[in-house]
Amino acid sequence: VRHAVVAGVAALPYAKDIGMTERRAGALAILAALADAGLTAADVDGFVRSVWERTTEMEMARVLGVDNLRYFGAVDYGGGAGAPMVAQAAMAVEHGVADVVVVWRARNRGSGGRPWAAQLLAEGQDQFERPHGLVRPVDGMAIFARHWMHRYGWSREDLGRVAVLQRAHAQGNPAALMRDRPMTMDDYLGARMIADPLCLFDCCLETDGALALVLTTADRAAGLGASHDPVHISGYAWGSGSETYAMTSFYGSDLGTTPAKAVADELWRRTGLTAGDIDVAQLYDGFTPQVLVQLHEYGFCDEGQGPAYLGSDGAVGVNTSGGGLSEAYVHGFNLLVEGVRQVRGDAPNPVPDVRHCLVTSGNVVPTGAVVFSREPQ
């Protein structure tokens, strides 16, 4: 049986303007992740790409001089794609389709402009939403946020707990863009509204970033001489839920339940684990309310109890690098890299003795999650 592991990870320094193309940044991140694994580009025989990545896997293979990809594929849905990309790479490795599969994301979202500002034709689902004003990702999220706040009795302070907690984590992370910008609840409550009830600090950062993960088999990784142990992939799951749209699943019978609920059910069923087995969690955080909803959808607390859970003594560490809100926002890829590092023990804010780290992707789009573990399950 072939067990998939993450043998290496890397992130280029995050920036508002990274000063290079996504192609170049992606290639440099991949080379750094390969070096972290004790591998070279000559070892790569598979790529998994985000559909939103402008560099195709063929172009990346040419840039890095990688011959004959034995596996290539791509996953859609923006911030929903990260964990599913890792899962797809793991499947390719486990099935022996390829031996060394690279997953990467490079995005100049800090310097490259706002995609929504250029989209002036509304096709498909967009024709019934964008012309009315739901244009930015935050706009659809705000409709859900008010619904959840009403349903669960959440206040703005409850959303603010997420933002303040993650900002505190960023203070201990030299790579975090907000590392020298501490934030109080008063700072949060005083921020300008973007899409009421969501303010500036409910939103993730606009970042240039490039990250990569290298997957191979446990056997292959054992002989590479890397300075750290490989991280085992003990489980993964996809889920779409029903009547799902990207960001605006307003029309189905179960308004407010996200695809993450289906992912969680599948993940725990497949792994035999539960939220109680998780030592640290990286929960996708494009916007603060997503974290609170995932806390109950993945089973860390009862429905709607996310704010109380976060403040409780037994809470696991959540988004320990600062996450998308305060480290960097690269479609959640920094959460994947942070998850690997927490298991290895080389994260900037290390949680002691991590056996299992849950990493999730965006929960208001079709999505997935992965569990990184110190030992094979």
Binding site: L121, R146, M193
Partner: protein, 135 residues
Amino acid sequence: VAMGPEPLADADTRPFWEAVAEQRLTVQRCGSCDRWIWQPRPLCPACHAPDPAWHDVTGEGHVVSWTVIHPPVLRAWAKDVPFAVLLVELVEGVRMVGRLDADDDFEQLAIGQPVTLRWRREGPTILPAWTTSGR
């Protein structure tokens, strides 16, 4: 003149936009299983009967949720901010997105509040919108 995003209809959605241009709100309903369908689609998703028929509706419903949009926004809407976008549930049970009428006060919105249909013009496009002020 800066324009907002323009709806790009196709054969499956054109009946909706043709009706809207005549200030009629129309929604598909499956002739076989009576299910109301939104957003538009070529088949009933429950029983797969083709071409669910379009039925004009009053547009009456209630507020399910909303957001108030603040800058930064598209250039076309700089004159509109802040403005509210509603998620409305029609009496038929389908939910639709549309603006709160510009003459309404978004500070007075509440979940569950009844709304009625208004028409809003955005450049050459007519769009459904809703008001809390009754008729």
